[in-house]
């Protein structure tokens, strides 16, 4: 199994509070991704990173920001959580050169915004 951990694994928070989710990898892979999983939508890309301080927006980035100050850590922040951000969040990693960029997924974080 790829060495990917996510913390916390479960979180309940109130509307309007800031929340940060962490993805940590031990594989030294260059590419990292944040997805959210919702019933009827599958997984949708929120943000991704191609390296330290190199991030970009995905399909559903509104309301989210990310940071990557170290290769191994990719943080997802909800500046002011809303109920629509209740979801399961998955981090994934891949390595350039492993054509076609096969992605490996973490165990997920279940976030509930009340």
């Amino acid at each position: 199994d790829a060495g990917i951990t996510q913390s916390p694994r479960h979180k309940v928070t109130e509307t309007g509070t800031p929340v940060t989710l962490r993805c940590h990898q031990t594989e030294n892979h260059r590419y990292m991704y944040w997805y959210r999983q919702d019933p009827g939508h599958g997984l949708r890309l929120i943000h991704y990173s191609y390296g330290v301080k190199d991030t970009d927006k995905g399909e559903v980035s509104d309301g989210y920001s990310v940071s990557r100050s170290k290769t191994e850590d990719f943080l997802l922040t909800l500046e002011s959580a809303t109920s629509s951000q209740t979801s399961v969040y998955f981090c994934a990693i891949s390595e350039e050169g492993n054509s076609p960029y096969e992605q490996y997924f973490g165990p997920g974080t279940r976030l509930t915004v009340t």
Binding site: H41, G42, L43, L45, P100, E102
Partner: protein, 113 residues
């Protein structure tokens, strides 16, 4: 733009019966194709992938899938399912020369004894 359609949101089947999970995609460029499996309360695990070559690909746990370019399909099959195959299955594509995975909405396979 690309899209992936999994028409069956749920597929109930009895143990030891065969199963087919359907996946169709739409893309203006060539794509790589994947099936991922998600067991309850876990992350996604790669089941199999089609990159090139033989259109019939075999994956883990006895699953296989066939790429049909003319029908833009990549259906997943298993000749005899087990209770342990109960999970959600996601079809996904990656356009050539990108690293983006585009997922279908998933099919929940429920295997009954």
């Amino acid at each position: 733009a690309q899209s992936v359609t999994q028409l069956d949101s749920q597929v109930p089947v009895f143990e030891e019966a065969p199963v087919e999970l359907r996946c169709n995609y739409s893309s203006s460029v060539s794509v790589y194709l994947f099936w991922y499996v998600q067991y309850p309360n876990q992350g996604l695990q790669l089941l199999l992938k089609y990159l090139s070559g033989s259109t019939l690909v075999k994956g883990i746990n006895g699953f296989e899938a066939e790429f049909n370019k003319s029908q833009t399909s990549f259906h997943l099959r298993k000749p005899s399912v087990h209770i342990s195959d109960t999970a959600e299955y996601f079809c996904a594509v990656t356009p050539y020369n990108t690293d983006k995975l585009i997922f279908g909405t998933g099919t929940r396979l429920q295997v009954f004894p």
